[in-house]
């Protein structure tokens, strides 16, 4: 078999794109060899960058706004009178693809009408934030507008059990006794979801 020279191989080879360029090997001109013009060009570029807008956001002081469809930590909602919406129907737990939600139902006693909106409520409601994939299917499944995803995310923790959020972590502050905390926890997402 006849052996090919390097140049022949290159001509035989099919170029994948038309962007391939022959490397230039011509000697530098005097101006290029003087080196200084290139330095001044480079220095003009770096100097120009001093007036560019810097994309950094000063994090703890300035926070980047969340997208309106952001899905963060869950919140268990209350109605305007401060009663819990959740009736422990379990639809969220069924909808959850990661099986992160568990709950125990209980019956509302007489005199607890100001705490729970309907006759049945969740005595225990837990979400494992390590399992949760923040898909938002629980929010879609809920018929009572009791659970929705907020604009925060789970903070770091040293232990796994710290990521199992109970009712005291998830429940929204009472709108009557603590209206500001309620508004803050509610954020803008509840309106979007509705």
């Amino acid at each position: 078999m006849r052996s090919l020279s390097k140049a022949q191989i290159i001509t035989y080879m099919q170029a994948l794109t038309n962007r391939a360029k022959q490397v230039e090997r011509k000697p530098m001109t005097l101006l290029e060899r003087a080196y200084l013009p290139a330095i001044f060009k480079g220095m003009a570029i770096t100097f120009g960058h001093m007036f560019k807008k810097r994309p950094t956001i000063n994090y703890p002081e300035v926070k980047r706004p969340f997208s309106p469809v952001f899905r963060g930590l869950h919140i268990l909602n209350r109605d305007e009178e401060g009663r819990e919406n959740c009736t422990a129907c379990g639809l969220c737990a069924v909808a959850c693809p990661a099986e992160a939600i568990t709950m125990e139902a209980a019956e509302r006693k007489a005199g607890e009408e100001n705490l729970y909106r309907e006759e049945k409520y969740a005595a225990k409601y837990e979400i494992n934030m390590l399992r949760c994939i923040f898909c938002g299917l629980c929010e879609e499944a809920c018929p009572k507008d009791a659970i929705y995803l907020s604009e925060t995310f789970a903070p770091a923790n040293f232990q796994r059990k710290g990521f199992i959020y109970g009712k005291d972590d998830l429940l929204i502050p009472n709108p009557i006794t603590e209206p500001e905390a309620f508004a803050e926890a509610r954020g803008n997402r509840a309106q979007v979801a509705r």
């Binding site: 480079g42 770096t46 001093m50």
Partner: protein, 356 residues
């Protein structure tokens, strides 16, 4: 009577030394901060802004951090020389400031106090001597580390400084032929008339060569081969830690500031304020205020040179070693020689009333 004058002289010089040393330390401190800020701004970042308002306490935090770090002296190092290295680097860096005229003079207690620690008649030679001593700190420190990378860095520093000192010296000879004096004070006073009497107008090529050599002498990018971190780990300060490392890094910034000061005095009129009749203005506001203005102008000029140092550092990549030597020996030295010959011919012609 004689003794009292002597005492006053000693006191005034002592005060001047304290002020100069302290202010050059302070300026070097903030040069490190400025370096990081300039780097950040040129790379579209924000730079240090956590310590204090706008991050102005950052150098203090850096210094404290260095002080609290563990001092490691390698087992097989030569301990005395290992400690001597950074001390020498720092000492020689500080010594240059002695002959630089920071301002004209102030008038206190019926005495005219010149704002220069020592007006010696060979000022610029002294600067040269001290700057060349600076490499001893690096060489001794690198050799004493007993580390091959350190030694490589030290050798590079030595050969680089020797190569560039030649071109620097020859470019300076041309300047000294025009000034006719070695005293920095006199060189500055010759440039007081107006901005077009500055030596940069007479010696533009000499200034360019001097500037490039000053970059090389300060081991700054593009000539930072002695500490080339991606080739030699840390170069000559690989084995250093804590404040001994801090001294090496700090000496670099002091060197930068003082070589800026030397360049300002040699080529940019020293403390001369451009577009201003200094003598007439001094009559109006008094000598002391004028001296303050002069010193401020001097620092402003030096600061713009510091900025140039940083600007170049964050623009130009490092030279390869052979490129460095080529530039030094094959380009800068011939250029400096030509510059010297042309200057000499001009001076001869001038003395001969422009007749051949």
């Amino acid at each position: 009577m004689l003794l009292s004058i002597e005492l006053a002289l000693i006191l005034e010089k002592l005060a001047l030394i304290v002020v100069v040393v302290m202010s050059s330390l302070l300026i070097a401190m903030y040069a490190t901060f400025a370096e990081r800020k300039v780097a950040a701004i040129m790379q579209d970042r924000r730079g240090p802004n956590r310590a204090g308002p706008f991050g102005i306490l950052q150098p203090v935090a850096d210094g404290l951090k260095l002080f609290f770090k563990e001092e490691i002296i390698p087992n097989l190092s030569s301990k005395f020389l290992f400690i001597l290295g950074p001390c020498l680097a720092m000492l020689t860096a500080m010594m240059t400031g002695a002959v630089i005229p920071w301002g004209d003079k102030v008038h206190f207690f019926d005495r005219d106090i010149p704002l220069q620690i020592a007006d010696i008649n060979i000022g610029i030679l002294y600067v040269f001597g001290v700057v060349s001593m600076g490499v001893y700190g690096i060489m001794i420190g690198s050799w004493a580390s007993n580390n091959k990378f350190s030694l490589m860095g030290g050798l590079r520093a030595a050969s680089q400084i020797i190569s560039y000192e030649l071109a620097m010296g020859i470019s300076l000879i041309a300047l000294l032929m025009t000034t006719g004096t070695l005293s920095l004070k006199e060189i500055v006073e010759q440039q007081q008339e107006s901005w077009y009497s500055w030596n940069i107008i007479k010696q533009p090529l000499g200034f360019l060569i001097f500037l490039i050599c000053a970059f090389a002498e300060c081991n700054r990018t593009p000539f930072d081969l002695p500490e080339a971190e991606n080739e030699l780990i840390g170069g000559y300060h690989t084995e250093y830690s804590s404040m001994k490392l801090g001294f090496f890094l700090f000496a670099e910034y002091i060197n930068m500031f003082l070589s800026s000061a030397v360049m300002v005095s040699l080529f940019f009129g020293g403390y001369d304020i451009p577009f201003l009749n200094d003598a007439a203005f001094a009559e109006k506001i008094g000598i002391n205020w004028m001296a303050l203005l002069h010193a401020g102008m001097f620092l402003l000029k030096a600061a713009s040179f510091l900025f140039l140092f940083m600007w170049v550092r964050w623009t130009i990549p490092r030279f390869r070693y052979d490129q460095l030597m080529n530039l030094g020996w094959k380009v800068l030295i011939p250029l400096a020689l030509i510059n010297m010959l042309v200057t000499g011919a001009f001076i001869l012609l001038q003395q001969n009333n422009w007749h051949f």
